[in-house]
């Protein structure tokens, strides 16, 4: 199993009373709540934390893309990836954006990723996402075109990376006389592609198709849902006539490690609850604009009446559902080993900073995790390889 340190870069200084006046930390929360001096300090602190993950032995680091919100301050994740490219030496750098349907010209992503791949000598992992529903309000992109634009933009980028240019591209949404990507990607035929999602049959069937075999990442879901979607991926692969490897599935989850379970819970509690109840706060109209999900998927949600933005959540709710892993190294080793053996993901993406978690605790938790959890799985891999 490989470990990728995931960061959202939240605006941790957000006034917690904002929700007395505003119904969300997204889209319409006035940017007067943002203080650039604090932002300057936060960006540099967060980059330090990502660089630290390289020093202590994570296999990779991940940056992320969201727009017009306090939840994550990386609307243009390539800026962060560029900063990290020169300061890190070993880790893979995964950009777990870019939200392709938001773009009028997806060739910008082909170029940006190719630059990062050249700069890092092939340490880039290329993420493609649709973005969450709120993005469609923020950027004015049409949610009803989201799936179609995603597929067409993906096809365009892949051809830009793999076909000798110049060539014309004749799509429904994108049309170019001369596609001719300079620079070409460093990795051949192209960087590994990861598809983060909150779970969608359409996405899983598409990502697992034999001509793609992209790594599917389940983000921010209870472990039960994780198991269901990973199985869906394996079943889809089997339906295509091949066996999916563990490298094709990954899990992104907030994690906090401390000396004991009690200390971990006590230290993490206010910060994970700030994340859940303040930063994730969003009305359903913002989260699921019409067309973002197919009618069929929407009906399923309507019947289940479930949404990630329900009532207030406590640390105990999310620990119980394993939406959040929190505890001593022994507890974390046991949980991860159990889920890994049951579900079989090849990548774990711990989000070691969440909500208002301060730098000292983020660093302490990262260090404990790197020293006392990750090595256990290295030897486990060696053990099972030897068996």
């Amino acid at each position: 199993m490989k470990f990728f340190f995931f960061h959202l870069m939240p605006y941790a200084a957000l006034d917690p009373d904002y929700d007395k006046k505003h119904n969300s930390a997204w889209v319409t929360l006035p940017n007067s709540y943002y203080d650039p001096k604090i932002g300057h300090a936060l960006y540099n602190r967060y980059l330090d934390e990502l660089e630290y993950a390289d020093e202590v032995g994570f296999d990779g680091i991940c940056v992320n893309e969201h727009h017009q919100n306090a939840y994550g301050l990386m609307p243009i994740p390539g800026v962060m990836a560029g900063a990290l490219a020169r300061r890190t030496k070993n880790v893979k750098i995964a950009v777990l954006g870019r939200a392709l349907p938001l773009l009028n010209n997806p060739l910008t992503v082909a170029e940006e990723y190719a630059m990062l791949d050249n700069l890092t000598g092939g340490r880039l992992i290329a993420g493609f996402v649709r973005g969450i529903g709120a993005e469609y309000h923020s950027w004015g992109a049409n949610p009803a075109e989201s799936h179609d634009r995603f597929h067409e933009a993906h096809d365009l980028i892949l051809r830009a990376w793999t076909e000798p240019g110049p060539f014309p591209f004749e799509g429904k949404y994108y049309h170019f006389q001369y596609v001719n990507c300079w620079p070409r990607p460093y990795q051949q035929p192209h960087p590994p592609i990861w598809i983060p999602s909150q779970g969608s049959r359409e996405t899983i069937e598409w990502a697992s198709a034999p001509e793609r075999k992209y790594t599917y990442l389940q983000t921010f879901s209870p472990v039960a849902a994780l198991a269901r979607y990973m199985q869906m991926y394996r079943d889809a692969a089997a339906g295509y006539g091949y066996t999916a490897t563990s490298e094709q599935v990954g899990w992104s989850v907030p994690i906090y490690a401390a000396e004991t379970d009690a200390i971990a819970r006590q230290e993490a509690k206010p910060h994970i609850e700030f994340f859940l109840n303040k930063l994730l706060r969003m009305p359903p109209e913002m989260l699921l604009p019409p067309g973002y999900l197919s009618l069929q998927s929407l009906q399923g949600i309507m019947q289940a009446k479930r949404t990630i933005t329900g009532g207030p959540q406590t640390i105990d709710d999310v620990i119980e559902k394993a939406v959040f892993l929190c505890g001593s190294p022994a507890t974390l080793r046991a949980k991860i080993e159990q889920y890994q053996s049951e579900i079989g993901f090849g990548y774990l993406l711990p989000m070691m900073q969440f909500g208002t978690l301060p730098h000292e605790l983020t660093r302490k938790s990262t260090e404990i995790f790197a020293k006392e959890v990750i090595p256990y799985f290295r030897t486990q891999t060696a053990r099972s390889a030897a068996e």
Partner: protein, 260 residues
């Protein structure tokens, strides 16, 4: 008044439509909420006209064709429907989205039209005059913002909604997003060609419209030759529902005038 519910296939798309009454044809084009039910104002209009109420492609009980990308597609569809049904001297009435379709249709070809009524139509943008964001509002907020008289809004909110109706609401919202999300509720080129509308035109607007502000009335009226603008007092975005008597009287009266 009796009406018949039927299906018709035009341009390869099967649509559901309701038709009742007799006389000269009146084609009614619905707004964002579709036209699932035969409403009281339709009953009244059917006393004077051969009233035809289709559900647009993509809405309610109609199919969603592959060719449907924008409101202009619906304008051509209805030109083909008018031709296909063999209708002559059609009175075209559209509300909100339906008003936008009607305006797009009329700038393309007014030959088969006798009159045009646009009630709180979408379709153009006036700088500094923002429209309500029905995609961001909750369902309850939207319902409240549709009406001037909040007792009507509360009554609408109390009415139980079946699963089948919920499904139709979702389907209608999805196609509304596809057609109107960006640019929001307008075609940047329509305003340039409204002068091509060559039939007597009445524009109706509630004086308390929170979806498309009443200020859009003069903007439309000023661009359509000879158009008359009438403001309905104490009325929101749905004059045909909130002030149905006045709406029907104005539509019937205007069409009679065009005969004179």
């Amino acid at each position: 008044m009796d009406y018949a519910e039927t299906f018709a296939t035009i341009d390869g798309c099967k649509i559901r439509l309701m038709r009742g009454g007799a006389g000269s044809p009146l084609l009614f084009l619905h707004g964002a909420r579709g036209a699932s039910a035969w409403l009281p104002f339709m009953d009244e209009l059917a006393k004077h006209f051969d009233l035809i109420v289709p559900e647009h492609p993509g809405f309610g009980g109609s199919d969603t064709p592959d060719w449907l990308d924008n409101v202009g597609d619906l304008a051509y569809f209805y030109l083909d429907l008018i031709g296909g049904f063999g209708l002559e001297r059609v009175n075209l009435v559209g509300t909100s989205l339906g008003g936008w379709i009607a305006a797009e249709l009329a700038v393309r070809c007014s030959d088969r039209l006798r009159s045009l009524v646009l009630s709180a139509p979408a379709g153009i943008h006036v700088k500094g005059l923002p429209k309500g964001d029905t995609f961001m509002w909750s369902a309850a907020e939207t319902t409240r913002n549709l009406f001037h008289d909040q007792t009507l809004a509360e009554a609408a909110l109390q009415r139980p909604v079946s699963q089948a109706e919920q499904f139709i609401e979702m389907k209608n919202r999805l196609i509304m997003a596809k057609l109107t999300w960006q640019p929001r509720l307008y075609n940047p080129h329509l305003h340039k060609w409204l002068h091509r509308i060559a039939v007597p035109t009445l524009i109706l607007w509630g004086d308390d419209d929170k979806i498309i502000p009443t200020g859009y009335g003069p903007a439309f009226a000023g661009r359509i030759p000879g158009a008359r603008l009438e403001i309905i007092a104490k009325c929101g975005h749905l004059p045909q529902v909130e002030r149905s008597d006045e709406f029907v009287a104005k539509v019937v009266g205007f069409i009679r005038e065009t005969d004179a």
